[in-house]
């Protein structure tokens, strides 16, 4: 009987176990929700919905596995299932296209030596970087945030977003290159970098598409 089973665990109720395990990740979940929804009110709703859902399904969570990744998975799924439906999909997709005014200088601008560019990344304003992260296509943004901000492994990210590890690698690659390209464009516009004939960073994948590590390892064995 579920009624008794739930109370049985050595002294601690399910609620206590859940709070102890899940709530330390509240800050991280809120941070992620904020970047997914880009709206404080919606972010809080999303976190609340996700945590209640996680609590309801907590018995399905296997003890010893990574609770943080599991919570992120519930959060991202909840976002896809609810928030995104409510939101104007067109508005959310806007990040996919480069804003036209930016396109102009991106076309003309190029790097004044890669050294200058490296230093520029360190000098860029936090707000500008944040804006460009927000402007990334949703799939890229999710992968980049989970990896760079929340320190999830490729395997955990694959689980959170429900795709193969190879796809995670490809999204990370393209997301980061795109980000680099846009930040570079901004730096030129602001005069941090001068335009020059050298090649600008490209968001294209190398000639051969990013293979998964598994493919690479298999190839190495052969």
């Amino acid at each position: 009987m579920g009624l008794f089973k739930r109370r049985k665990q050595s002294g601690a109720s399910q609620r206590e176990v859940f709070e102890r395990e899940a709530l330390p990740h509240l800050d991280a979940l809120h941070g992620m929700a904020l970047r997914l929804t880009r709206d404080e009110r919606q972010a809080e709703d999303l976190v609340q919905d996700a945590l209640v859902k996680a609590y309801r399904f907590f018995h399905r969570f296997e003890e010893g596995s990574n609770i943080k990744a599991w919570l992120f998975k519930v959060l991202v799924n909840t976002f896809y299932n609810t928030v995104r439906k409510e939101k104007n999909l067109g508005k959310l997709r806007a990040g996919v296209e480069l804003e036209p005014h930016r396109e102009r200088y991106l076309g003309a601008a190029t790097v004044a030596g890669r050294h200058a560019e490296e230093a520029t990344l360190d000098a860029l304003a936090v707000e500008e970087i944040k804006r460009e992260v927000d402007a990334l296509p949703e799939e890229f943004r999710t992968a980049v945030l989970l990896c760079d901000v929340h320190d999830l492994s490729y395997k955990e990210i694959a689980e959170v977003v429900g795709c193969p590890v190879g796809t995670v690698m490809s999204r990370l690659y393209r997301g980061r290159k795109l980000l680099q390209k846009r930040l570079h464009g901004y730096a030129v516009e602001q005069g941090y970098l001068k335009a020059d004939a050298e090649a600008e960073p490209s968001a294209e994948e190398p000639a051969q598409a990013i293979a998964s590590l598994e493919d690479f390892r298999r190839r190495k064995q052969a």
Binding site: D27, G31, I129
Partner: protein
């Protein structure tokens, strides 16, 4: 195994994300040592990561959200109790058609379900400090400054916190390497969070003003002429000591003996 520039470009992100096995890692490192253009690529990638981390630091969620979540979980609990009580009522009705017994049984169960939950605000401050130390240690948040040199860290924070930040220096025999540091809050006080690589593991240290934040509780042990307060939480060991008005809370996944050794020989 040697790698081509093409392979390196493809896997440089996996390299920086710590996703390669040790052979792949070694092969890529070897290539980077001899190839300036891939090295530049790696540096740019690294800086991009740093820029993203810098622009999106882990910030505390609003207190109101924590409250809302608590209320929502209360509601979920209440809903579940309703369901359970409903199920029990149907079940009891089928077996024992006596209203008095049902009422009694329900009353009993209800009181059990409503039973008091132990208060969580009773922890000593070392225990709660330990909780936060462990959380940060586990999260390993992005660093404000990456430096292997303690003086550089001290300089960086000299105008940022109202106390001297002297990252502990661990004995050479421990293969401890300073990784970086960032601003933090302990309770309402400014603190600095420093991380080290020690052997194969990690050590994190919160440095704070011990006059502003006196800490009680824990077990006291002597190590290297200092009193170290000790707390073990969820498999992590947290050791706390103070020197010259500065407090140090050291968290690691080392075993307790290793951590005591480390603290005893730090300066």
């Amino acid at each position: 195994m040697s790698m081509s520039c093409d392979d390196v470009r493809k896997f440089i992100q996996a390299y920086l994300d710590g996703e390669l096995d040790e052979h792949e890692w070694a092969a890529l490192s070897l290539h980077l040592e001899s190839c300036a253009s891939c090295r530049r690529e790696a540096r740019t990638e690294e800086r991009l990561r740093r820029a993203v981390r810098r622009s999106l630091p882990l910030e505390p969620a609003p207190a109101s959200l924590r409250q809302r979540v608590g209320t929502a979980l209360d509601a979920a609990d209440a809903e579940r109790r309703e369901e359970d009580a409903g199920r029990l009522r149907r079940w009891t009705l089928r077996l024992v058609p006596a209203a008095a017994v049902i009422a009694l049984g329900l009353g009993f169960l209800w009181s059990r379900l409503q039973g008091p939950r132990p208060a969580s605000g009773l922890k000593t401050s070392l225990a709660s400090l330990a909780e936060q130390s462990i959380e940060w240690h586990r999260l390993s948040p992005p660093m404000d400054v990456t430096a292997t040199n303690p003086e550089a860290v001290q300089r960086y924070f000299s105008d940022k916190v109202p106390f001297a930040v002297r990252p502990p220096v661990f004995p050479a025999g421990q293969r401890a390497r300073l990784v970086g540091a960032r601003l933090a809050n302990l309770r309402e006080h400014r603190a600095v969070f420093v991380t080290y690589q020690v052997g194969g593991g990690r050590v994190s240290v919160f440095i704070f003003d011990s006059n502003a934040l006196p800490v009680a509780g824990g077990r006291v042990v002597r190590a290297g002429g200092r009193d170290v307060r000790w707390q073990e939480v969820r498999g992590y060991n947290v050791g706390l000591y103070s020197a010259g008005g500065t407090g140090y809370a050291v968290t690691s996944d080392l075993d307790p003996r290793g951590l005591v050794q480390l603290i005893a020989h730090s300066h």
